[in-house]
Structures are given as C-alpha cells and as structure tokens.
C-alpha cells in the first residue's frame, strides 16, 4: 500500500515534470521566433510592437509586466477577501446565539484561525502589493520594477500559499483538519503537544503556506526597495517622491526585517512538530514563541497600515482641492513609525508576567509611536479644512478611513497603558480595537484606492450610486459591529470563544447585524465592479477626476492619458481595455 502510494506519486510527478518541460520548450521556441515574425499576430499580441506579450491565459501566467502583476495581485486579494469574509460571516451568524448552534466549536476555531490569516496575509499584503506594483513604477517614472521576474515569482508563490493555508478545509480527510491555533500560533498548542488535535498535518500545511507567503512578501519588499532607490526618473528626487512610494519604501524595510524572522520562527516550530527539536518546549518556550512572533507581529501591523495611510494621503488631497497639508510631516512620521514599530512588540504580552521594568519600557515606546500616527490624522483633517471637498466614493472611503482610524487609534492608546491592558487583555475590546484598524481603516483605504484607480484598471467608470451605497453600508456596518465589540469587551466578554454567557446576547446580535450590513455592502461592491467592468462607460480622457483644475494631476493619470492617446491614433483597439472577459461594448456606449 505504502509503496503503491509512493509509486503513484512518483509517476504523477514525473508526468508533471515532462509536461512542464514540453510546454517550456514550446513557449521558448515561439518566443524566440516572434521578433522575426514581426509581431507574431497568431499569438494575439495587442500591438505591433515587439513587447512580446503572448495572448490569452498564457499572457497572465507568463507576464513580468508590473501592471499585469499588479492586476493579478488585485484579483488574488479580492478572492481572498471574499473567502475570509465568507468565513467570518459564518462565525458571526453562529455568534447570534449563545450556544453551539450552527457549527461545531472546533469548526469555529478553524474559521477563526483561517479568517485572521486569510485577511492579514492573503488579502491585506497582496492588495497593497496590487497598488504598489501597478503605480509605483508609473509614479516614480521607472520602466518597470527593478527585478521584474522576481516580482512574478513573488506573486506566483501566493496561490500555493493560499492552497496550503486552506488545505485543512480543502482536503476532506480525518488526518488533515484545519489549524485551530489562531493566527498567533501560540505554543504549546501549535507545537502539537498534549491531548489536543493540533498535531495533525493540517497545521503543518498551514505553517508551510504562511512561510511561503512570507517568502513572497520578502521578495516583493527587496524589489520595491531596489526599485525606489535605483529606478527613479531623474526629476523624482527624494524631495519629489510621492507619499505612497514613501510608505511602500518604509513598509518594505519593515518586511525585510520582520518576515524573515517569522519564517525562521515557523521553521523552528515545524522542526518542533516534526523533527523532535525542543525550541519551544520546556520552561520559557511559550514566552520565546511569543517574543519571536510579536517581534514580527507588531511590525506586521504597520506593514499593513502604512501603505493604506499612503493611499489616503495620496487620494484625499485630490478631492480636497489642495495639496496634502504638511507633506513632509507625513513623510517623517512614516519613517518614525517604521523605526519605532520594532520597539513595541511586547505590549501584546503585558499579561504574560514579564519583568515589570521591560513592560514599562515597552509602554513608553508604545506611547511614543502614537504621536506620528496622530500627526498624520491631523494632517488629513487640516488638508480637508477649508478645502473644496468633493464627496466622491474614493473620498468618502478616505474620510471613513480617518474617522475609523481615530476610533481605532484612541482605543489603542488605552491598550498601550499597562494597567488598562491588564483589565482588557483578551477581551472583545481588543478585537473591536484592531478591527477598527484593519477593517475600518486598512480595508477602507484599499477600497478608496480600488475606486480611485478603477478607471485606470479597467478603462471604465463604476456606477456612482452603488459606490455610495457600498460606502454607507460599510461605514454604518463597521461602526455597529466593532463598537458593539468594544462594549462587549468592557463587559468582560473574552475573545476567541464560539459560545458565551447569555448576558452578552444583545450586543453579539447587534454585532452580527452590523456584519450582515457589511455583507450586503460587499455584494453591492462586487456587482458594481463586475458589471461596470463589462458595461460601464468608457473613459475617454486621462483626467476622469478633474484633477487638472486644481493642479493636482499626477504621473499615473498622465501615463493613462498617453495610453488613451495612442489608442486613438492606433484606431481604438477596444479589446485591450477590457482584458479579462472583454466585452465589445464600445459601440453600445456611443
């Protein structure tokens, strides 16, 4: 039996390798001949130029163009967001009732773990990479990323990572069950010792997937650092570098120091689980894991929030009719956050009984890091102050970001204070606090970016009314859901439980109601984006937001305008605008 399995695997692997080799020879052949065949129309190239981009699906599998990779990242992030959202909807519905009603407690734990990991690693990081891949080379005047192929490798590591992380759900056997370790993977639970069920291979697969996503993020960050340092156009000096590139540069620096550490810690954990090592066993093992994890984990928070702050700093002034107030304050405070984020990790561990002297130091730095964040908030508000505000959908999402970020930030300042943290630790207050940041702020900024650059991505405009519905449902839904969680935390409701005491039922039901609003808003957004991509009005100028009026027209729109211009002179090949599932709606629009 065992031998048969191995044999089958060998044959399968061999067939796969031969198939890959055969395909590669074919691809390499036609590619080396295309330039001779002057355009090689048979492969459906979009232009007569020698940018050899094959047609159809193969284009997307082989692309090293930063814009295509940005689109792939975006698609990937959106799919992960839908998966993570579906997971949390099941959890929220389960929590509408105090007992174990809809799903088992263990399945709830699995969903809890996967929701966190999916949203942070498979949605958050990739959706940021979508924007940075697409726009940073355009905005800083680079031809492409510094290492286009590494860029593609970094993206293609992510789909296997997602499959591994979700493997427990996807492989329906008794031996492999989804990880139930929560995204923090605290040992000894995640080391698989004791009587729990976490020794199963599903956890190993999840750790491997997470490790892969870390490798991907590290590759991407090296690429961005190299690109921003070496590929800038001559005019783009450090003084002219835009705020989004600054935040990505800082974020990449954080990734470079944080993710390899997570990778090493996870390799150690895998060795503990499979190879009999004892890194995290015995006295101090659990606290060692927490230190290693949070030394990565806290910078990760800023890895996720800095680029969205950059998007807001970039988009918000465009609809305020004036430039960003205190541009250099925002740049310097971004750098300050980057440095200080490595000095605050143990504020997640105040309740573990670490030495009070260390706790006090971490508290001090945690207080200090609040200043740069607050500076940014004041800059956004003063940018809007007395400005000519246009409440377009991206602007609404930016304002929503600022509003939610204030609530999320202020609740965070309290948590940085040791005495308060000891009371509120591991309650729903913490859950409410960080969801105000990750959902209310990070996701909102992501959607602000998606709406703002939708014309560039698709060549079309979304439906304005649906965008407004989406925003308001999300703004209201977010505040209902997560404010209820903050109140639950004050009441003493502990986090991570599938069941709870009946006294918490009202607030839990309110939170579920808010989550349903978010679900409806999400469907509206999905419908809007798909339908508008297929049938929305085609954009004809490179300035759909009337930025020139205020002198706030930026390089990526200038690029888009040039692209549209060349399209007109080329006789308007429509199919390129609607790359995926192109729809010949050009005629019906006019």
């Amino acid at each position: 039996m065992e031998i048969n399995g191995q044999l089958a695997l060998t044959v399968l692997m061999g067939v796969f390798l031969v198939a890959v080799a055969a395909w590669l020879t074919r691809v390499e052949n036609w590619r080396s001949y295309t330039p001779l065949a002057s355009g090689g129309g048979a492969y459906g190239q979009e232009s007569g130029h020698a940018h050899e981009k094959p047609g159809g699906l193969i284009r997307w599998f082989t692309t090293v163009d930063h814009k295509d990779i940005g689109m792939l990242y975006g698609l990937y992030g959106v799919i992960a967001f839908l998966v993570g959202g579906a997971m949390v909807m099941i959890m929220r519905v389960e929590l509408a009732d105090p007992g174990m009603t809809l799903i088992s407690n263990t399945f709830y734990n699995s969903l809890l773990t996967s929701h966190g990991i999916t949203m942070l690693f498979l949605f958050g990081t990739p959706i940021i990479a979508a924007f940075s891949n697409y726009f940073i080379p355009l905005v800083i005047g680079a031809d492409d990323m510094a290492f286009p192929r590494i860029n593609a490798i970094a993206f293609w590591l992510l789909p296997p990572a997602a499959l591994l992380i979700w493997a427990g759900f996807l492989i329906p056997t008794g031996d492999i069950i989804p990880a139930q370790t929560a995204w923090t993977m605290y040992t000894p639970l995640s080391a698989g010792v004791g009587n729990g069920n976490q020794a199963n291979a599903g956890v190993d697969l999840m750790l491997l997937g997470l490790h892969l996503s870390g490798v991907s993020a590290t590759m991407g960050s090296i690429n961005f650092i190299a690109t921003i340092f070496t590929e800038r156009a001559e005019e783009v000096t450090w003084a002219n570098l835009d705020i989004f590139s600054w935040t990505i540069l800082t974020q990449s620096g954080l990734i470079l120091f944080a993710f390899p550490l997570l990778g090493s810690a996870m390799v150690m954990l895998l060795a503990d689980r499979n190879f009999g090592t004892v890194f995290f066993a015995g006295e101090g093992g659990a606290i060692l894991w927490q230190h290693l994890f949070w030394f990565f984990g806290h910078p990760e928070v800023y890895i996720l929030v800095l680029p969205p702050m950059g998007i807001v700093s970039y988009v918000l002034p465009r609809f305020s009719g004036r430039r960003l107030f205190g541009f250099k304050f925002v740049v310097y405070s971004t750098l300050a956050i980057g440095v200080l984020s490595f000095g605050v990790w143990a504020h997640h561990m105040f309740a573990t009984g670490i030495d009070p002297r260390l706790r006090a130091s971490f508290m001090a730095v945690s207080m200090a890091i609040a200043i740069p964040s607050a500076v940014k908030t004041f800059n956004w508000i003063t940018t809007m102050w007395n400005g000519r505000i246009r409440l377009t959908t991206p602007m609404l999402f930016c304002i929503g970001f600022v509003s939610n970020f204030i609530i999320g930030g202020v609740t965070g300042v309290f948590l940085a204070s040791i005495p308060i943290d000891l009371v509120l630790h591991d309650t729903y207050y913490v859950v409410g606090h960080f969801h105000y940041i990750v959902m209310g702020a990070i996701a909102f900024a992501g959607f602000a970016g998606l709406y703002y650059w939708y014309p560039i991505f698709t060549g079309r405009m979304y439906q304005r009314k649906l965008g407004k519905w989406h925003f308001w449902l999300w703004m209201v839904g977010t505040n209902i859901t997560f404010f209820a969680m903050i109140l639950l935390g004050y009441g003493g409701m502990p986090r991570r439980y599938a069941t709870y005491l009946p006294q918490f039922i009202t607030l839990h039901q309110i939170a579920t109601l808010g989550a349903l609003l978010l679900l409806v808003g999400g469907f509206i957004w999905l419908y809007n984006f798909i339908i508008s991509w297929l049938e929305g009005p085609v954009i004809e100028s490179g300035d759909p937001w009337n930025l020139k009026e205020d002198g706030l027209y930026t390089a990526e729109w200038e690029w888009f305008d040039r692209k549209l211009q060349t399209k007109i002179t080329d006789g308007g090949e429509q199919q390129d605008v609607a790359t995926d599932g192109g729809h010949e709606s050009d005629e019906s629009d006019s």
Partner: protein, 128 residues
Amino acid sequence: MAAKIFDKETILDLTVNIIPLGIIGFFVVVFAVYDPFGYDPLASAISFGLLLVPLVALAALTYISGKAIAGDEKRSEVFLAGQATVPGSQTLEEYEAQAEPDHEPAELTDDESAEDAETEPTAQNTDD
C-alpha cells in the same frame, strides 16, 4: 554643508520626529531617577536598551532622511508629490504663489463634477 541643509525650515519639519524622541527621552530620565521596580543588572539593562535603541535608530534615520530630502530640495526643483514627471506641471513655488492670493472660502460641495462627468453619458446604460 550640514549647517546649510538643516536650516530653520527643515528643523521645523523634523519636529514631528523630535516629539517622540522627547517622549522616549523623558521616560529614560523618569526610569533613571524614579525607579519603582528596583535595580536588576540584566532587566534594567534590557529595559534601558529597549528605550535607547529606538531612540538612537530614530534619531539616525531622521537625520539621514532629513539630509536626503532637504538636500534634494536645494539641489533641484521641487514639484508637488507625484507630479515631477508630468510635463508642464507647476513647481511647488508656483503652486504656493498661486494658491495664496485667492483663498477660497469654506464650502462643502456635493456636486461631484468628476463622477458626474463620467457617469452621465451612460445614463441609458445603467438605468435599464
């Protein structure tokens, strides 16, 4: 050179990072003077290290970035963020000179001319 780069304007920009430095410095002094948990060679050393390492790192990064940004401001023309490569865009000075005189009154317009401009032609497209 350094004296020229770090003029009053630049120092003012850097205050944003000097404040967190001040907060950390304040706590260093507090923990040195008022020592609520007693002295322990290892724990106290780590404790001060945790404050001093970020302090020094932040000061260094602020200095380096300030020098890079302020230096480039003096060496070449400054544009609004993201506009340096756009042909015909104004420099920051021109923008400021133009923005100052006609100080617009506060108004909250919901006209959304931008979105209207793009969505109106297709009213027939979305309504059916």
